[in-house]
């Protein structure tokens, strides 16, 4: 359908509610990378990220009838994703012992990066972000990578907007310090550029 390209997310989900599976396909196309990278940045193994991304879309499929256009579709989608993420983290912390707070946020030595065809650039950024406080980090990630508005972030994390602002501000300041303090930053940058696929 040609006019799907111009349709908003909200229109598409409503169309899907009415039974148009093409609408869902379109939505999926729009958001698959974003959702995948959402999980990829927050979860250990890429395979796990893939599963979680799949679960997110399946949840959208199943819950389509219950969807009510309250906020943007984007915030609805990320709320689902965040809930799935939280469940996964809880399961992980229950299953394994001695779980640290940053368990699901591995360093560069994580086995996930060893899989063929999977790589990420800017590892030092990941390391720096890892050093941030958990709550602040989440806000930063949602802002910088998922590009959610303050309102949407507030909706996903279920905190007031002002909390979002203060956390974001704190995160940015802190990150600036961390990145400034990281030795050989420019060198790393160059290396990253070279090794990027």
């Amino acid at each position: 359908m040609a006019d799907d390209a111009m349709a908003t997310d909200e229109q598409l989900i409503l169309e899907f509610q009415r039974g148009s599976h093409d609408a869902f396909t379109e939505l999926f196309q729009r958001y698959r990378e974003l959702i995948y990278s959402f999980f990829r940045r927050r979860v250990n193994h890429p395979s796990r990220a893939e599963e979680l991304a799949q679960e997110t879309f399946v949840a959208v499929l199943r819950g389509a009838q219950r969807y009510e256009p309250r906020g943007t579709f984007r915030s609805y989608l990320f709320a689902i994703a965040y809930k799935i993420l939280a469940n996964d983290r809880r399961k992980l912390s229950q299953n394994s012992e001695g779980a640290g707070p940053g368990l699901d946020f591995p360093g560069p030595s994580a086995p996930g990066g060893a899989a063929p065809g999977r790589c990420e650039t800017g590892i030092w950024v990941r390391e720096a972000v890892e050093k941030l406080d958990g709550n602040d980090r989440e806000v930063l990630l949602l802002r910088e990578y998922e590009e959610l508005s303050y309102e949407e972030i507030a909706g996903v994390l279920r905190v007031p907007v002002n909390t979002v602002r203060s956390r974001l501000f704190r995160a940015r300041l802190a990150l600036k310090e961390i990145l400034a303090a990281a030795p050989g930053r420019s060198v790393r940058k160059e290396n990253a550029l070279e090794s990027s696929i």
Binding site: G19, F24, T25, R62, G117, E120, L140, Y145, S149, Y150
Partner: protein
């Protein structure tokens, strides 16, 4: 920072932009943040694998199939209905309304049972003929009671019918029988009636024993007793019996049996009626002529017998045994004579003197302070009655529950099991049809 993120209102944005041109610190901070964002973009993630797309598409297709199948399956209205019933069991409001409905049914059943009970005794009381008692017999638990009542009623009816037959016989004024007539005189008709006497046996003047009864309502009760006595003595009569009651909360009554000469009966009654308002009046006369005549005849015979026996005794000096026999006979006859003479005297008295049954009631003025019981006593009585009422109602409810409970439970269980298994079976069939069939190996 909001300005940087584009999260600020346009007018404020303009302000901030202007400010930043002037404030070096803010400008520097803004630059830092911008660089930061740029740097963060260096952390790139590879795109999702194609597998993700495939898997999601698969799931989407499965869901599509499911909804399509569900639409097909639900075509049958019956299945749809069963499905809805099955879905209802998850809804709390369905349970709540079902519970409320059950409660209503229980209450309705209880009320109807209790009301049936309550009306049954009054059915016994209200019915006068056997017909309605027979219908009351349909109520199972009191059948014996009803049968007994029915038998009693029948006996009563038969007795009444007998009396009625007798009365009919009696009312046909046959001169040859001893007759009795009763005349019910309404107040006011007394003067007109006058008292017509039937013809008795020819040759003998009719002897009537007259009785009258009179009920009065007197205003001036205190004077009544004295007045009655005065009237009676004026008419050369006497008082046979006298009764007076003064209950605290009701009208005073005065009743007396007066005997006045028969000739004086009418004047006496007339004077008595002056004492108050006549409530009820009746007169009756019993014709005792025949009895008197019989009695006189028997008396004569008896006397003659006595004479003869005495003559026998005088004349025949026979054996001692015979003499003794005769003397026994004489004493027996004498005894009879005495009796008969007494009877005759009584009859004569009755004829000579009429009997008046008088009852006088005071005109009752209910007093304001009529309650005999004190306030405390009344409250105490009410409290006790209330307590009894509560106990009775609780016991009654428990008894009803015990009585009806098992029956209701039985039927509820039967109905529930009747409905449940088909619903479950239908629901399972729906579910089974909906579950996606195992897919062949994905391409």
């Amino acid at each position: 920072m909001a300005y940087l993120d584009g999260e600020i209102a346009a007018d404020r944005a303009a302000e901030i932009a202007q400010h930043m041109q002037q404030c070096a610190e803010c400008k520097a901070l803004a630059a830092d943040f911008r660089n930061l964002s740029q740097e963060l973009l260096a952390w790139e993630i590879e795109g999702p694998p194609a597998r993700l797309t495939e898997q999601v598409n698969e799931r989407a297709a499965a869901v599509k199939q499911t909804t399509a199948k569900l639409e097909v399956i639900e075509e049958t209205p019956l299945r749809r209905w069963f499905g809805k019933i099955g879905a209802l069991k998850t809804k709390p409001w369905a349970w709540a309304s079902a519970g409320a409905l059950a409660m209503l049914l229980l209450m309705a059943g209880g009320i109807s049972t209790l009301s049936r009970r309550a009306s049954a005794p009054s059915a016994y009381v209200a019915s006068r003929d056997g017909a309605s008692l027979s219908t009351a017999m349909a109520h199972g638990s009191a059948q014996d009671e009803v049968r007994r009542q029915l038998v009693n009623k029948r006996e009563e009816v038969e007795a009444m019918e007998q009396k009625l037959a007798q009365a009919r016989v009696a009312s046909s004024l046959d001169p040859s029988d001893g007759q009795r007539y009763t005349v019910e005189i309404k107040p006011g008709e007394a003067q007109a009636a006058g008292g017509t006497l039937p013809q008795s046996s020819p040759g003998v003047a009719p002897m009537i024993a007259r009785t009258a009864s009179l009920s009065l309502v007197a205003k001036d009760f205190a004077a009544v007793e004295a007045a009655v006595k005065a009237v009676v003595s004026r008419h050369a009569g006497y008082i046979g019996e006298l009764n007076s009651t003064t209950p605290p909360d009701a009208a005073k009554t005065f009743s007396a049996t007066l005997r006045v000469p028969s000739a004086q009966l009418e004047p006496t009654l007339a004077e008595l009626k002056q004492l108050g308002r006549v409530d009820q009046e009746s007169q009756s006369g019993e014709e005792v002529t025949k009895q008197y005549v019989d009695l006189a005849a028997r008396l004569k015979n008896a006397r003659a017998t006595e004479e003869r026996l005495l003559g026998v005794l005088r004349n025949n000096t026979g054996k001692v045994k015979d003499v003794l026999e005769v003397e026994n006979e004489i004493s027996r006859v004498r005894g009879e004579i005495e009796e008969m003479e007494a009877d005759r005297r009584a009859l004569e008295s009755r004829v000579d003197f009429a009997t008046v049954q008088l009852s006088v009631t005071e005109e009752y003025k209910a007093s304001l302070n009529g309650a005999p019981l004190s306030l405390g006593t009344r409250l105490h009585n009410s409290f006790v009655a209330g307590y009894h009422g509560v106990v009775e109602s609780v016991i009654g409810l428990l008894a009803w529950l015990l009585e009806s409970g098992p029956t209701l439970l039985l039927w509820a269980a039967i109905l529930f099991s009747l409905v449940r298994w088909p619903v479950r079976w239908a629901w399972r069939r729906v579910r089974r049809a909906v579950k996606p069939a195992p897919k062949p190996a994905a391409a």
